[in-house]
Subunit: 127 residues, 3 copies
């Protein structure tokens, strides 16, 4: 199996030794995305709603660059720093995905890089 790396300026660039996503056959593995704006690389330090939206936007733009779309996202994992953010994360997430409902786990972690509140990764497929 030949694994290819996905690189797009439509999402935050990698901050370490990883690809935004890899593609293996028709499977797209999206790296954990933080609430960082593309190009400017500006951190979204606003509330959990804005951070959730920006992380989701990075995920989706990477999926699109890899040949998928919102309907081909099969699983997401949400890493949050506080269980109290669960309801608001779910609200923004529901608005973002609309009728699409990937498998999902929300995990409360001991901390995220740079003090962010949320990080989101995904497994998707090419169209």
């Amino acid at each position: 199996m030949n694994i290819t790396s996905v690189n797009t300026y439509d999402a935050a660039l990698p901050g370490g030794h990883y690809s935004q996503a890899t593609v293996a056959g028709n499977v797209i593995f999206v790296s954990g995305q933080l609430p960082v704006r593309p190009l400017a690389g500006e951190s979204v330090k606003d509330d959990i709603s804005e951070q959730t939206y920006q992380a989701l936007s990075n995920v989706l733009n990477i999926v699109k660059a890899a040949g998928g779309d919102i309907t081909t996202i099969a699983r997401t994992t949400i890493y949050a720093v506080d269980v109290k953010h669960w309801e608001e994360i779910n609200r923004v997430y529901a608005s973002f995905f609309g009728p699409v409902k990937p498998a999902r786990s929300i995990i409360t972690v001991a901390g995220l890089h740079h003090g962010f509140l949320v990080e989101i990764e995904a497994v998707a497929f090419t169209i």
Copy 2:
């Protein structure tokens, strides 16, 4: 790739914007399952043994509804709130799976929704 959602009354219903599982080709992605009983939606507030068993039961029933069985579970991830529960989780898990040994990671998280002690997700395949 067409992603389909799995819905079964044999496992706890989703408590947010997600499917119990999605199926992409022959791959089944099961959402993180909490120790909640099907239909009644009753939380299992008993000890870690009961919680582990109920979460596993939800996972397996979803896998079956998606077209797999216990032998086609390839990976599980166990999120626990305390490393001290590891031995008992492993004991119940071993009894549940018998000769089947999926790849597995046990992760200690900073907290789970509703004060639960354990959550379990899985990747499986259709028969």
Copy 3:
């Protein structure tokens, strides 16, 4: 789908009810690997650099035993106990993988078994 278990003496043996990895079709699911040396089963209690290298070495040896190689690792998940270790983990990881850049998430967990500092799991493919 027939799921097979991978067993190799070139990596630390399982410490619970799981396989070092499972293989489903051409997909390899590697269990979370701790910094434990093969055969001797000796724990690497040195600094984060040594622990990261040993965990990665276990992952790669399991991938090889399952029919893949370093270029067919599509995703890794790194569980670390302290965000302060991020830079050093990334440095050792970059040296280990060279030009290969799997999708990756680094998650800060509330604790690992036996007091280890890092655990690494992966999804890979057969060659």
